[in-house]
Amino acid sequence: MRACNNIVAISDIDTRRLTRILREKGAQGGAVVTGPSVDSAAAIDLARSFPGMKGMDLAREVTTGETYQWDQGSWSLDDAAWGEGEGEAERHVVAYDFGVKRNILRILVDRGCRVTVVPATTPAAEALSLQPDGIFLSNGPGDPEPCDYAIEAIRAFIARKLPVFGICLGHQLLGLAAGARTVKMKFGHHGANHPVQDLATGQVMITSQNHGFAVDEDSLPDHVKATHRSLFDDSLQGLELSSAPAFGFQGHPEASPGPHDIAGIFDRFISNIDEAKAAGNVTLLKKA
């Protein structure tokens, strides 16, 4: 699998020493060189050629080329089969793919959503023409700031008061669309054991994390509220808008891998969709 996917990998190195260096100096450019013989000096030059993640739009590189439907639910250990979701899947979610993890899509299907996955650069008008009941903004790599196409689309969804839920990069893009700033972190959060506090209830949940950028809590405008914070470094982990049913979570509630403590946050997106549908907001918009 490794060789056919052309991924380089190195074993038998002191990962404790490496991790200490990264913690002290921050994430940095690097190079892995493998072969019958390797040249360390050339590898250092190669490592220094990496321009850094800041300003790098990678969502555009990893996104899907075409729109597609996703209808697979979570794997059932009892049935030894993929789930098919509940009921008639009456909620239509348009999921922006900035580098989406499949388990997110499966969890949406489990919760009765029909999911249409669209490329990262899909304009708002095109997404709206699919008549979504809610918009999901996926996780993804790189810096959120250069993703101006997505930020513009999200602003249109917020203005229409469509239910919006963002995870990871999607959360950062929602923050930028709402007027906040994002910052590059020193070494980021990557792991499956990060404590995060729900600021409304005080509850602490152990979460899966993977991000190198974060929304700066100090930059949140008045209509955006902080909802979660990391207990490792107090960085912002969740936000919600008061002007629209839109919220985001920085960590990974879909786990995969990791604990499921915060999986319930998906239910909030579902309730927002159901409330908007009940209030007729979404239906009215469809006619407009």
Binding site: V8, A9, A31, A47, L169
Partner: protein, 81 residues
Amino acid sequence: MTDQAVLALEDGNVFLGRSIGANGESVGEVVFNTAMTGYQEILTDPSYARQLVTLTYPHIGNTGCNPEDEESSRPMVAGLQ
């Protein structure tokens, strides 16, 4: 014969080891992940594009891979150490 491998950092630190993947070279941001399980999900997570991922947990590779745990259609990391 086992192929050689080197991980170099931009600060000049060098780690010599053993190659356990493809032969070639890859450049990216070096990060570390502290998860004790789920390396297949980590390697196939598109959020790791252009990153060289250090897995801090030592028991890596002993549970193999299976199609149910792919988070995307292929490994997305720039490299693994």
